[in-house]
């Protein structure tokens, strides 16, 4: 397409868009290809606003990368050093004091399994396990993790062998879009230990019982997993997956792929329906 429009003047831009392209700061320093793209974007109807955004983005990108820039971007304020163990690997980081554990994992360590949902401690998708306890990484300052051991979703499988909770989530279809899943799984993994240790919940009938391993009802699982929201509503399947691993009793799988026979049968039904429709129309 670039060959078709190698000249600005050949492209149909509104007077306003032409004016904008001319006046954008720094645009003259952009490469030819980029200018053409911008012009095309205008021609394709992205409009003046989008053009402006694209051009600004480019100008800012150019500032960061060009040598001898007039000012240096501050990357860390109030830098803090922190050593911690993440998925069995020792890490030493120097971070801006404001960086949360979640941002450190995602932005500094490329561990993007832990997700950022609300970033305010309301959704649970950032759940990771710190020193054996499930916590919200979005409300944890990375600086406060000195000497701690962190397990994320990336650290649960042993090589290619999935954690039993992971396997159960697949078997029971414990997700639809999958965005809450890393948090759900980390939460469920920690929950197994909480039940083993006899920790009670708000729905436990007798909190005065001696601490011993607790058999969780589905209601108990729901209460204990209430910090992990799933907007797709995969809750029944999530509970089933957790119950299977917790109880060791196989839970019925409520879905399956179509077998070739079923596919064939369905096609036949469609055919019959089509014929019926035709007959009806004729009548």
């Amino acid at each position: 397409m670039a060959e078709e429009h190698d000249n600005f003047d050949e492209i149909e831009l509104t007077a306003e868009e032409k004016e904008l392209l001319k006046d954008l700061p720094g645009l003259s320093e952009l490469g030819e290809a980029r200018r053409i793209f911008l012009a095309q974007a205008g021609a394709m109807g992205l409009g003046a606003f989008a053009l402006n955004l694209l051009a600004q983005e480019d100008v800012f990108a150019a500032m960061q990368t060009s040598e001898g820039a007039k000012f240096a971007l501050v990357t860390e304020e109030n830098a803090v050093s922190v050593k911690l163990k993440i998925n069995d690997v020792e890490k030493a980081l120097t971070l801006d004091s404001r960086v949360t554990l979640l941002d450190a994992l995602r932005e500094k360590l490329q561990l993007t399994g832990s997700k950022k949902g609300c970033d305010h401690g309301q959704c649970g998708t950032c759940t990771v396990i710190v020193d054996g306890r499930r916590v919200l990484s979005c409300l944890t300052l990375a600086a406060s993790c000195e000497g701690k051991t962190v397990t994320t979703i990336e650290g649960l499988a042993k090589g290619s062998e999935l954690h039993p909770i992971q396997t159960a989530f697949i078997k029971h279809d414990g997700f639809q879009c999958g965005y809450c899943t890393p948090g759900q799984i980390c939460s469920a993994v920690a929950l197994m230990n909480e039940a083993k240790n006899g920790e009670v919940s708000y729905v436990t009938a007798d909190v005065r019982q001696k601490p011993r391993s607790i058999k969780l009802s589905d209601d108990e699982i729901r209460e204990r997993m209430s910090g992990n929201l799933c907007r797709c509503g995969a809750y029944p399947n999530i509970v089933r997956a957790i119950q299977e691993v917790h109880s060791g009793r196989e839970q019925a799988q409520t879905w399956s792929f179509h077998t070739p026979d079923e596919n064939l049968a369905e096609k036949k039904v469609e055919k019959v329906e089509k014929v019926e429709v035709e007959i009806n129309e004729t009548v």
């Binding site: 004091s97 909190v207 910090g227």
Partner: protein
């Protein structure tokens, strides 16, 4: 989030002197509330002193009662055998709040210092005397379904969000704090939080620089008959519309002593003294529970959208007392 200096405290004395030297500094423990408020630009400390590793994490017997460290986690407190056995009301109240992840992070001291969840307090574009004194109260004539029915003022109608604190005020807990020059003092729980009056920016009677070190629970005879009831918009992981901590000490069918406190109804955990006084010496019957609830709730003053809290409060008191009288099992 605005920039702040971060340091890790290794000694309580130093932490207190450090914070006393900077009135824009704050202690950081679990961070579950503070960090959220910093992201919202509601809290703007320029320095955080991380006290999480100070040695105030013990939960131990003390003069027949139990002392719980200010830096013990909510989860560890709720599940400690001494607490479960002797103060099941506290266990239930802690577990009624937040989620497991948050309780795993949150400290006991921090739970006491939670700020209100009033949406006008959270929204920096709205007026709020608690956040910015003198700007007015957005909730007074705004959307105030979640707000107070006891002890509010025209300056502030917010409620305290904690469940744990409702149990603590019912149990006559005592807050131990350490101030400058190692000075220690004890604050009865009922005096720890305050009503808004004309300065709602102050949630508690803690002085600048003071550090909570422990919460002491005196010995009592309520463990057999207590219950924490929380009523909310969804079954779990939501703040209370109304909650009730109820505890009874009975002799035969007669009530020797009743303790009742409410959450979601006031700027502080609300001790229902009228209801308690009514029940002393009476039989533990549903009829008496109803009269006690009436004695308390008749003094409530609802706002435009929270009139339902009066009837809800009445029924919640009756139900919590009924369950408590039946051995605390719902």
């Amino acid at each position: 989030m605005r920039p702040f200096k971060y340091s890790r405290a290794t000694d309580a004395g130093n932490a207190v002197s450090q914070i006393s030297a900077n009135n824009q500094a704050k202690f950081l423990a679990g961070g579950t509330n503070l960090l959220d408020l910093m992201k919202e630009d509601v809290e703007r400390p320029n320095e955080l002193i991380d006290v999480a590793k100070l040695n105030f994490t013990q939960i131990k017997s003390m003069n027949g009662g139990v002392s719980i460290g200010a830096l013990a986690k909510n989860t560890d407190t709720a599940n400690h055998p001494l607490v479960r056995q002797n103060y099941p009301l506290l266990t239930q109240a802690i577990l009624a709040g937040a989620s497991q992840q948050i309780r795993n992070m949150a400290s006991n001291g921090g739970n006491l210092l939670q700020r209100t969840r009033c949406s006008y307090f959270y929204d920096v574009a709205m007026p709020c005397n608690k956040r910015e004194p003198g700007t007015g109260c957005g909730a007074l004539e705004g959307i105030n379904r979640m707000h107070a029915v006891f002890g509010w003022s025209n300056e502030c109608v917010a409620v305290h969000p904690s469940d744990m604190c409702v149990a603590l005020v019912a149990l006559d807990a005592v807050v131990k704090v350490q101030g400058k020059d190692g000075k220690e003092r004890s604050i009865p729980f009922a005096d720890f939080h305050r009503l808004p009056e004309n300065n709602p920016q102050k949630d508690t009677n803690l002085n600048q620089g003071e550090l909570i070190t422990a919460i002491e629970l005196p010995k009592n005879n309520f463990a057999d008959k207590s219950y924490y009831l929380k009523v909310r918009d969804r079954a779990s992981y939501a703040f209370a519309l109304v909650s009730v901590a109820a505890a009874l000490e009975t002799n035969g069918g007669k009530i020797k002593q009743a303790r009742i406190a409410m959450g979601g109804v006031s700027h502080k955990p609300w001790r229902a003294m009228q209801a308690e006084q009514f029940l002393a010496g009476k039989n533990a019957t549903e009829a008496n529970f109803k009269l006690a609830a009436e004695a308390e709730m008749k003094n409530a003053k609802p706002l435009e959208h929270n009139k339902f809290k009066i009837e809800l409060g009445r029924r919640a008191i009756v139900r919590a007392l009924t369950i408590a009288a039946n051995g605390g099992k719902a």
